[in-house]
Symmetry: C2
Subunit: 610 residues, 2 copies
Amino acid sequence: MRRGYPAAMSDFRSPTDDIRLVLREISDIEGICDLPAFEHVDPDTIDGVLDELGRFVSEVVAPTNRIGDEQGCSVADGVVTVPDEFKKAWDQYVAAGWGAISQDPDYGGGGFPGAVQTVLTELLATANRAWSMGPMLTLGAVDALHTFADEGQKEVFLPRMVSAEWSGTMNLTEPQAGSDVGALTTKAVPRDDGTYRIFGSKIFITFGEHELAENIIQLVLARTPDSPPGTKGISLFIVPKFLVDDDGSLGERNDYMCLSVEHKLGLHASPTCVMSYGESGDGAVGYLVGEENQGMRYMFKMMNNARLGVGVEGLAVSERALQQAAAFAQERRQGRAVGAPAGEQSPIVDHADVRRMLLTMRAYTDAMRCLLYLNAATVDVARHHPDPDVCLAASERAELLTPISKAWCTDIGVEMASLGIQVHGGYGYIEETGAAQHLRDARISPIYEGTNGIQAMDLVGRKLPMRAGAVMGDLIAEIRAFDAVLAVAGDEFDSIRSNLADSVAALAEATQWLMANGLDNPNDALAGATPYLRMFGQVVGGWLLARLALGSRRRLDAGEAHFETGMLEGKIVAARFYAEQLLPIARAQLGAVTAGADDLFALAADGFSA
Amino acid sequence: MRRGYPAAMSDFRSPTDDIRLVLREISDIEGICDLPAFEHVDPDTIDGVLDELGRFVSEVVAPTNRIGDEQGCSVADGVVTVPDEFKKAWDQYVAAGWGAISQDPDYGGGGFPGAVQTVLTELLATANRAWSMGPMLTLGAVDALHTFADEGQKEVFLPRMVSAEWSGTMNLTEPQAGSDVGALTTKAVPRDDGTYRIFGSKIFITFGEHELAENIIQLVLARTPDSPPGTKGISLFIVPKFLVDDDGSLGERNDYMCLSVEHKLGLHASPTCVMSYGESGDGAVGYLVGEENQGMRYMFKMMNNARLGVGVEGLAVSERALQQAAAFAQERRQGRAVGAPAGEQSPIVDHADVRRMLLTMRAYTDAMRCLLYLNAATVDVARHHPDPDVCLAASERAELLTPISKAWCTDIGVEMASLGIQVHGGYGYIEETGAAQHLRDARISPIYEGTNGIQAMDLVGRKLPMRAGAVMGDLIAEIRAFDAVLAVAGDEFDSIRSNLADSVAALAEATQWLMANGLDNPNDALAGATPYLRMFGQVVGGWLLARLALGSRRRLDAGEAHFETGMLEGKIVAARFYAEQLLPIARAQLGAVTAGADDLFALAADGFSA
């Protein structure tokens, strides 16, 4: 440290109790544990798992965060180097079996609900955003293979991917095919033995190459000869780094290479690879997953899950930024707070404006966590409830919430990381403090896995029209019905009730406008999509925070010892602060949602800047 | 470039016409040219200067931007190295005399209005934010010496600082004294010859050391022996890097040293120095400016100007980010826009959501430019109008607007730079694209020269109470009176009129609440300060955009050839878009402004995070 500087306070603390409370009040974790698929699990077991997981990420993963940002990664002759500490953390992750926690027991998984995997996602990403990309991509690949691969493929690949001995990737993007996946040109040439040979280049491949795992299972989108153009001609292939022999041992190195890693704003230690398949000329050996030309359908089916995971990144970066800012604000002394004795500097946490920043971060962090764990629990119900009607309703609800989880949480994550810098004053701009890293790391999440603009288009174009608007209508009705609960909850919920009623009315009005105008003039709906998504997220956040606060009040009144009194009281404060001070942003979007596209298209394409 | 990537489009174009229009419609540049001090200047001369300045920054300064970010700066044995290109640009800046443009002709200045110096600030910062810090700090030091130094000091130092042969700095911050300047401990020991010896450490000193100029004139805040504690015991000193002999030639090297430069999120090529005065033990030779113990008063007097300059940085980074995003959006093709022919990819500028991002950037950039040039012109009137009553009113207005200029523009600057990244999709996250640099460079401006929280406290604590609220009342009355103008401006201004009326009503209500509650409960006013400032900025932006749009309509109707039709029409679109879609954020702050401090202080100091 340089002389006289305040210490960088980046110690990570697992927010285990916050998560527990949300699992109980928002995710109905008890109800999920009652589902037949989770008979072997109960909330107490989950509590124990959370404790252990909290210890693991605190002791093993979190200490690698700054090292990763400072050292970054590099490539030489196709070999990608990440900090040594990453390998040690990966080995311990494999040894502890954390990756298996919510996977299918048939392939070595622990069979816990998906909501518990969301805890894993959150805590790993909070501890080290860059490192966590490896396990997360692997879990995504496991999900894809588990759903769409044939039994033989599953037996070969899944057990060691579930354990994270082998890692997984997704190879979608090419230079001319980013958001526009259908424009990809990588080729897959069939061979007589039923395999394919893959030729082409991919970019932006997260953890596309590294030495952390024994093998890397690349999932690659490519076109077979004579396939239809666009998204209808894309197939999905397994392309392992090392071919797997019949006895399960690793064989020949496959014919692909990592050419370079990107120099990125953040996630310095997460290798983002330029991949070349068929670099030697023979082509990389690939195995078709499912049927030819169904690759995009498979990807779309998986995307809701992956997008939920990216939404969790927004929560994670916000939690970490808040922890660091809150610690700094207690330590750092500047100026004299109102009412403080003369002649001494107050901790900056005593200044009202610093408290505004911290409480804003606290409230949004809680709101994001509620939304994401509700979404995850809804997926659990959709997959495992014995009643097919309940499954369907849950599935629709999950699909509706997913673009909000992804886009709202990642936008807010960037805002909160930026606020975390502000709390630090000048020190926030110095890299050694560690606050700036959170903003740099956060900034990719609104972009990848479908930009937030694409999430908004998905919301108004695909999700609102579900059941002719009734899926959204049901949600609005549910939030409105909650008003009756708030009405009898006592004075302290009065302002929450009135602000929520006002904002849900705005959401209903905006929804009605989009349903009425979107079909005839798609650009009018698309023009309002992003402000609508922001409004939606803001309202759902307020609704869930109110539910969390009500539950906290109930626990306080019952004198329950399971949670700390201060934390429960804090949830009520955060909900009221959010309702009175942050929720009004929802109605402020109404003009933008309902303005139509005329002004957006009034300027010439080259008329936006000098 | 890597294969297949879209080219980084960071070509800078001087927004000269946008500036000209704002100078005419918002700054009343003709009225300013009529002031006696500016008899030698007219709008046509200024037009010519703007053309030449635009060429200079395009050809000389802008090409150094990426180089600076990539190479950064370093220090070895007290010598700070910046990219070679920076020295070439500095020499040309000196040769062309740009720094002198608005300075006192008695010391070699050009005597142009301050509004023209704002153009210089804008264009230099847009072209290369890091490099521009050197000239900007120099101009700040010139301003300080011109106002407070004695005639002898002025004669020695000013001519070569005005020319930028010598550069200038401000040495305020120490580790324990950031926002809390009064806590500084650097010592100034008087000597019999009337000079002082300075001992102590300073941090965060922008361009504190470099080889670009022949000499560096450090302005240092320090305490003389037995001075009162806190801000009342601080004096201001001139500490030149090389002492100046009686004949004006450079003499002995002074006793201070740059120990290190910070590793920052952005502004990589702007050396942020840790300085040690009296490193050899003898103390650095310093010359007292003005009177002892008056240093803080001097600093405060200067701050309005410096803060306006920092506000311009928010505009500048937004302009540059917009230029780059707009160029990318025309070039990059992804997906098929509504109505586009099947089978081909559309430029992304044809997608509604991309246009929303670009028009948001366009509208905020215009709004910031209007506010900043109004503020600058108001300072010109305050300084130079022959009628003392007009001077006083202008001075008060300028003081009221300054915290908005600083804080609102720099917050928006960060938001717009972030939006610029988003337009680029995945490429925005890659450093070579250049979009990420703008966010990194932008992030310091809300922090330094008084954090934006301190600006908000200044607004509600010092500026609102001016003339018992009448300074603010006059502004609100002026905006309200503008309604009568909009009422007869035709249908196309209807939605601007109604939205402006609604938001100014919210601003009036918020102001009234703060005036009524702030005196008794200062924390209640401080708690609402930041949302109030945001509301204020949002409303003033809407008012000024409406004025700009009205002026554009008038010019269009008159068939005036001075400005391009497309640009003028664009101003009307931007004003309407802003009024309907961005301005409602103003009213959404009302709950936060009027909530009081109770919830902020309901949590324990350590209760904000796990």
